[in-house]
């Protein structure tokens, strides 16, 4: 058992909390967005809001890969499994996401779709090898962290000539989403939302490095601090953001130097460039169409591209009318502002993207933070 460590963590956290309280100027309000679902989860799970002064507020960003996956994309995956009889390989947390017609991958599986949970694209390749007579499709979702493994799988399939394997590519890009939020009228023109800085993603940044954020810091004059997923990392990053705001600076700082460099992982980047190119548009659940925000499979790997192979046509499907996810993801609203929160919309019956995964803003608040605003 490691109780000693845990208490030490707690004591360190209290120390950082004291520094934040001391340095956050009382006449100012600080609103920082953690982009990444991993941070949202850590903040909720460790009760970090309790350690912050009332005028330092965290806004939960759109960095939960499952939450931003639009319904229409899940519909495509379900169509492949149910109507085209493929073996659909998916990550576990995608299984419960609600799609059209009251379906989800989990329900489609119950209705006979051959849908299998995998931990890495390598598992999907193995399933394809083991089932040469079946079509096997990898439902590839996620940000920059999950993209290189998909690239490795594509190359493996090409090398082995695995003709029954293909990828339904739904990989999305972090910087494009941050830019989209900063460009939204609420933030940019109307000044409805004050957004004073970002906590940059941990794992994503190990791949892309800290350099891509330099653009935001300069163009939008917002400080960015890249932080690890440990709660102490998050606290430290908040303190660093407070200090930048106080000093009127807007730089990219790296709290997570133990894993993130300026250039990132060049080998992984090269793999991704070899396999994927930018899509002109991609729909994000909660954000809508975001230009140049996602990847598609390059021509060279076209025979492994499920969209081409099965001649798929994307059909957007809207969320519930009252769902406020879009506004929540831009920091305009909070989960409790949504009329559906906690009644019609719960983690058992999610109506919108933010309630889907425990990393989503609404689910995190429902699961971990409900005691702060009991009905």
């Amino acid at each position: 058992m490691k109780f000693v460590d845990e208490f030490r963590d707690g004591a360190l956290a209290q120390g950082i909390a004291r520094a934040i309280h001391a340095e956050a100027q009382p006449h100012r309000r600080y609103a920082f967005m953690e982009f990444c679902g991993g941070h949202t989860h850590a903040i909720a799970r460790y009760g970090i809001p309790d350690l912050l002064p009332a005028h330092v507020r965290m806004i939960h960003g759109p960095g939960c890969p499952v939450c931003v996956l639009p319904i229409g994309r899940i519909d495509l995956a379900i169509y492949l499994a149910v109507k085209r009889g493929v073996i659909l390989c998916t990550y576990g947390d995608t299984l419960r996401v609600p799609a059209s017609d009251g379906l989800s991958l989990l329900r489609a599986k119950a209705q006979g779709g051959d849908i299998r949970m995998i931990y890495s694209p390598e598992d999907a390749l193995r399933i394809a090898r083991d089932n040469p007579k079946r079509e096997v499709v990898l439902f590839a979702i996620g940000f920059e962290t999950t993209t290189p493994p998909t690239a490795v799988a594509l190359m493996g399939a090409e090398r082995e000539g695995l003709d029954n394997f293909s990828v339904l590519c739904c990989h999305v890009l972090t910087p494009a989403a941050i830019a989209h939020i900063l460009d939204s009228p609420e933030v940019r023109d109307l000044g409805l939302v004050s957004l004073d800085g970002f906590i940059g993603p941990a794992h994503v940044s190990t791949i892309i490095g800290s350099q891509p954020y330099e653009f935001f810091a300069e163009e939008y004059r917002k400080p960015v601090v890249i932080a690890g997923f440990e709660p102490l990392d998050v606290m430290q990053a908040i303190l660093m953001l407070v200090r930048q705001v106080n000093a009127g600076r807007f730089a990219v700082e790296n709290e997570f130097t133990r894993a993130v460099s300026r250039a990132g992982n060049r080998r992984a980047q090269a793999l991704v460039v070899e396999c994927f190119e930018l899509r002109k548009h991609f729909e994000w659940r909660g954000l809508g169409e975001v230009p140049y925000s996602a990847l598609k499979i390059r021509e060279r790997f076209a025979r492994f591209d499920a969209e081409a192979r099965f001649d798929l046509a994307y059909q957007p499907a809207p969320d519930h009318k009252a769902c406020a996810c879009g506004a929540i993801l831009r920091g305009v609203k909070q989960p409790i502002d949504c009329t559906l929160f906690g009644t019609i919309c719960t983690p058992d019956t999610p109506m919108g993207s933010c309630m889907v995964s425990s990393e989503g803003a609404c689910a995190a608040h429902y699961t971990y933070g409900r005691h702060r605003s009991p009905a």
């Binding site: 058992m1 799970r45 009760g47 576990g92 947390d93 995964s357 005691h371």
Partner: protein, 346 residues
């Protein structure tokens, strides 16, 4: 010609076939040469449609549980031992002494007899260890593909002494919440096997019969309100059940909850919360605050309770929330999980 000769079952290389469920000689042989051989006792040997049991003083407690698990064999146990422990524990946490079990088997055509024998042996050992007898049983065979190897349903009967009156509805504000040891061991043992995740040290299931531990607590005479074993849904689900039943709230101290570093690491890796992960040999005890220390001593004196700890206390809360003081100094809710724990990506 030897008329009374039947070739013995090939327990090394044989398989279950549809005949073994047909009610004929093949089924009789399976029962005789495999089930009765390992599970045999005077009561089972009555051989009638029902077993006649001597009535004990006190009240009877009865509980049933069906067991389906993949893989059937895992570090620290197998479906056979689990089927015995699970039901023994459900009876034991009521404060009762478990005495008898029934066992129903659903076998898939093609299931290796060698595996079945291993499972039945393990049930016999688990029953012996827990001091209970399997007194009646049944087997059915289904076609290949209609089951996953073997499913086992066990029902347990135990005796509850007058004066022992435990219930999930008995927790009161101020009471202490205790756990007998580390959380999440069983669920993570299964998950790491199932998905072939390689961790430095294998995680071992905590599958165990708790009736020794519960008997020690009853005998100690401390002021117990209730006992529960946090199986499916983990600590979080069981504590929420208690809060609902007792119409109270609860505050936990995260830093006090015992967890093995390997389990914590595996949970971290898969994005799971150990509070949602199943246990099969752990006991939650709610007792009067004044009895907390004595109860803790009794738990720790037993081999299954060595890592016991007080993890929180019952509060007065109209919302029946289970809250936790994180080891970080913040507070958060501890909620039921919607559905099975699924790994997160990122």
């Amino acid at each position: 010609m030897k008329t009374d000769y039947t070739r013995p079952l090939d327990l090394k290389h044989g398989h279950i076939d549809m005949n073994h469920g047909g009610g004929g000689r093949a089924m009789q042989q399976l029962i005789r040469e495999l089930f009765a051989k390992h599970l045999g006792n005077d009561l089972l040997a009555q051989g009638n449609d029902g077993t006649v049991l001597p009535v004990q003083p006190g009240r009877l407690v009865m509980s049933t549980d069906s067991h389906v698990i993949t893989p059937l064999f895992f570090p620290g146990g197998d479906i056979g031992a689990l089927a015995v422990h699970g039901t023994v524990n459900d009876v034991a946490v009521m404060g009762a002494t478990p005495l008898w079990l029934s066992a129903g088997f659903i076998l898939e055509e093609g299931f290796p007899l060698a595996d079945l024998e291993r499972i039945v042996q393990s049930m016999a050992a688990a029953a012996h260890g827990a001091g209970v007898q399997i007194v009646t049983g049944d087997t059915q065979v289904v076609e290949r593909g209609k089951a996953d190897g073997v499913f086992i349903t066990t029902t347990g009967v135990g005796v509850l002494l007058d004066g022992v009156n435990l219930s999930g509805a008995h927790a009161r504000p101020g009471d202490a919440v205790l756990i007998s040891g580390t959380i999440g061991d069983h669920g993570m043992a299964i998950m790491s096997q199932r998905e072939n995740l390689q961790f430095a040290a294998p995680i071992v299931s905590d599958s165990a019969a708790l009736n020794g531990l519960t008997a020690a607590l009853i005998a100690s005479g401390t002021e117990l309100r209730l006992m529960r074993d946090p199986t499916r849904g983990g600590l979080a689900a069981t504590l929420n059940e208690i809060a609902q039943q007792s119409r109270c709230g609860m505050t936990l101290m995260e830093a006090a909850i015992p967890i093995q570093p390997a389990v914590e690491g595996a949970c971290e890796l898969l994005g799971l919360d150990p509070l949602n992960i199943a246990n099969e040999g752990k006991l939650i005890v709610v007792c009067a605050a004044a009895s907390a220390e004595a109860t803790l001593q009794t738990l720790r004196a037993h081999p299954l309770g060595r890592n016991a700890a007080q993890i929180g206390s019952i509060t007065d809360d109209p919302h029946h929330f289970v809250q936790m003081q994180t080891r970080f100094g913040g507070r958060r809710m501890v909620d039921w999980l919607s559905g099975e724990p699924l790994p997160r990506i990122c």
